[in-house]
Symmetry: C2
Subunit: 230 residues, 2 copies
DNA sequence: CATTAAACATGGAATATTCCATGTTTTTTT
DNA sequence: AAAAAAACATGGAATATTCCATGTTTAATG
């Protein structure tokens, strides 16, 4: 297989979406000023506070959106799996990046210069609307998660993030968790102890089967019920 | 003053923004299918769960973004003062409205058919980007508020919403509160008692002067400090 | 203007959550 | 492979928050 073909596969997701709205020629302009990169688990792709010089298209892997508060506390705003356009609230926002994007699994990323994409959007309303819609859809889940955090107590919140992992990240009830207990706590906005105790409790009740990073959601209806009660 | 002139003033804010990006002729297309409405305090402008048939441009007044959870709990996602384009996450999102928009002060609203605006955006990338940026800016504060709710405890959260009221709604330290204590609680995600007790405490400490709906933020630096500590 | 409902206010009991101490297991580094 | 560091796990004390009971004030309604 020629190098060209391999590269082709790298950004095929983004290219496929783009070519629905812009010409091959216009896409070449994006290609020329873009780079393909691999990030290892734990590496930062976009950094909070930095100027939004790049938009990232996530080709493969899983990333977390990380917000570091003044008081040093970390919050995971959302977790996202490929293929997705990243850049988040930063995408169309002119200020410095509101949050960091960090790999929680090895990732392949297509880094696009934001001003190049931006210029293209000005003459391609449909493309802009499409990208905006992709963003909005992604953030809807994030907003719902926040509402969960705001209104429910720990069990309901933890149930919500496991349902999120099932429905948006792993797509099956049995998976190898990419997040540590600490990260789960940062996602559900509770203490690490809450995560551990709740998982132990659910294990005893037969709702989940947990062993280290291995997770098996045994009773999804029960999880949904816990989520609903709050 | 002729009726025409009066109407002109009604949607001047939106017209002014729009004409930077689209032609007068194109704006006429929006005008034709749009209506101007007044909403009294408490009335719902856009309803959660309804199809997103309209986008609202808020000409004057103050509105809250209301989310009603399955368990019956209400959350105020954000508070917004005119002039602003509403529609929220709904604006570019195809699903039914994610939340309600409700007047907390008497409002003047320009209701635009979303498919008309949408069609226009397809041929006017700059206009779309401008609207998207307005949205993103509005939601940035909302995201920061959520992070506050998720990470800080009640005093820090309540400090944050009063700083928000100062910086984004009333623009001066002394104002007539549009929200009830219950609504403040729904905004800060705590109990009504927390709001009342905290205000009493701050009153005694000379940080604020509260008497019914009248609020005077006496020591803004102290509020910022409370916000920072969490 | 009397009546009713809603909003405001206070304090203590009940509950939820975090913090801390301690120990084990797993992963990473040398 | 040993040592160090990080992650995982448990339970009780300390703290934060909500819930409940009760009463007052303010706003809405017939």
């Amino acid at each position: 297989m020629a190098l060209e073909d391999t590269l082709e596969n790298y950004y095929s997701g983004f290219k496929k979406i783009s070519l629905q709205f812009i010409s091959a020629e216009q896409f070449k302009r994006i290609e020329k000023t873009s780079v393909h990169l691999r990030f290892k688990k734990g590496e930062t792709i976009l950094k909070q506070g930095h100027p939004p010089t790049h938009i990232a298209f996530l080709q493969s892997g899983i990333v977390k959106f990380n917000f570091l508060s003044e008081n040093g506390k970390n919050t995971i705003l959302t977790l996202v799996s490929a293929p997705k356009i990243l850049g988040g609230a930063n995408l169309f926002y002119k200020d410095n990046n509101l949050f960091s994007v960090v790999a929680v699994e090895d990732c392949e990323v297509f880094l696009i210069e934001s001003n190049v994409l931006f210029e293209l959007l000005k003459d391609n309303g449909r493309f802009g609307v499409a990208l905006f819609q992709l963003q909005s859809k992604m953030f809807k889940r994030s907003i719902l998660n926040f509402i969960s955090v705001a209104n429910k107590q720990k069990e309901g919140r933890i149930a919500d993030i496991f349902l999120y992992l099932l429905e948006e990240i792993y797509f099956k009830p049995s998976f190898n968790l990419s997040l540590t207990r600490k990260e789960l706590a940062e996602f559900a906005c509770c203490s690490v102890e809450n995560i551990i105790m709740t998982l132990s409790k659910w294990q005893q009740e037969g709702i989940v089967l947990v062993s280290g990073k291995k997770v098996d959601l045994k009773d999804i209806n029960k999880l949904k019920q816990i989520s609903k009660i709050g």
